[in-house]
Amino acid sequence: MDVKSSEPELRALMLSGLAGDAAAYRALLEKLSGQLRAYFKGQLNRINRGPVEAEDLVQEALIAVHTRRHTYDSSQLFTPWVYAIARYKFFDYLRRTKVSAKDITISDTEEMTAHDDHGHVESSLDLERLMAEISPKARQAIQYVKLDGLSVSEAATRCGMSESAVKVSVHRGIKALALLIRKEK
């Protein structure tokens, strides 16, 4: 895990993840979180922001990678795709927090793959509080499918919804959470 992950490795994990391989996808997100943490810490360092903000951005970027994973074109390289998302989220953060992009020195742009960082800082986000703000239907679907790890069909029986309705609720719920997280900061 401490070894820098390479493009072919990450790409292979992403492709398996897109095909529905949860273990490969989890491995991918773990590797990415290390690289993203190093990237955001490096960027935030220049504007004197700390590790908590970095962790917020790591989580925001991971959710973006997840909810936008259909935009990855499998014929292209994977690292530039992730890097573009991270950069977008960083500049979005600057704009939201009214830090001018001019305050940062662009010259020593860090490569995301340059470092790996496995900090154990918690982000400022409170999942339970965020969950309370999304629709009850989506909350229940996420609780069953994403947190309790029930299968979609089990969740469907418990909620009294069809399987596709559960899937849609989960999908919408995650997007709603992503939106809330963005507004938090």
């Binding site: 529905g20 994973r69 977008y88």
Partner: protein, 213 residues
């Protein structure tokens, strides 16, 4: 929240993702909103009424060549702009080509004619209608394109918005071409070109507001 918790949540019961859905949605949006723009044209100004002669058909073909080339290139560019890390820089420069070609052709057409005829060639009978109709017909396509792009992940919001505006404007101009009674290349170059460019400008201004994610 710990990041491990989040990773757990995101990877539990992972759904597989179908590839190529974004492109298909874009094509559908183009077809449906283009048809909608055509219907708006039919119900407002209507089809061109004069006898459909050879000149009418050849100028209609010219107008469509201009607008459809913009739609084709613009749509191809949008599929790239909607994906992080793909700039589509070469296509972006190519999109100026139709404007350049029609502009040059318009200039040549003017030079070949006597200056006395220039006023009629440039203003035609109907430039004011053209001015209002193209942006008006472009509204539905623009809304449809923004809806599609919000499903993607554009990272250059100004540029993506501008190209969405350009494609919407070109769709509006395509619909207007079936009404347009003016058969002159300078007319196409100036009014079609300017109105599509105006739509692109508006799209570029609205992009950062509408496409943020």
């Amino acid at each position: 929240m710990k990041t491990d918790q989040l990773i757990n949540m995101l990877s539990t019961n992972l759904e597989p993702v179908k590839s190529g859905q974004l492109g298909r949605t874009l094509v559908w949006a183009l077809v449906v909103s283009g048809a909608a723009a055509f219907c708006v044209m039919l119900t407002t100004v209507g089809l061109r009424t004069e006898a459909a002669g050879l000149s009418y058909l050849s100028f209609l073909a010219l107008k469509l060549l201009f607008t459809l080339s913009l739609i084709g290139m613009g749509a191809a560019l949008l599929t790239r702009l909607a994906r992080p890390g793909q700039g589509g820089r070469r296509l972006f420069t190519l999109i100026f080509l139709p404007f350049l070609v029609v502009g040059l052709a318009g200039a040549v057409a003017l030079v070949l004619e006597h200056p006395m005829a220039w006023g009629k060639m440039i203003l035609g009978m109907n430039w004011v209608t053209c001015l209002f109709c193209i942006p008006f017909f472009a509204v539905v396509p623009f809304v449809a394109l923004i809806w599609v792009l919000r499903k993607g992940a554009p990272t250059d919001l100004k540029r993506t918005g501008a190209i969405a505006g350009l494609v919407a404007g070109a769709l509006g101009a395509t619909a207007y071409a079936f009404h347009c009674p003016d058969d002159s290349i300078p007319f196409i170059a100036i009014w079609y070109g300017a109105m599509v460019a105006l739509c692109a400008l508006i799209g570029g201004l609205l992009g950062p507001r509408l496409l943020r994610w």
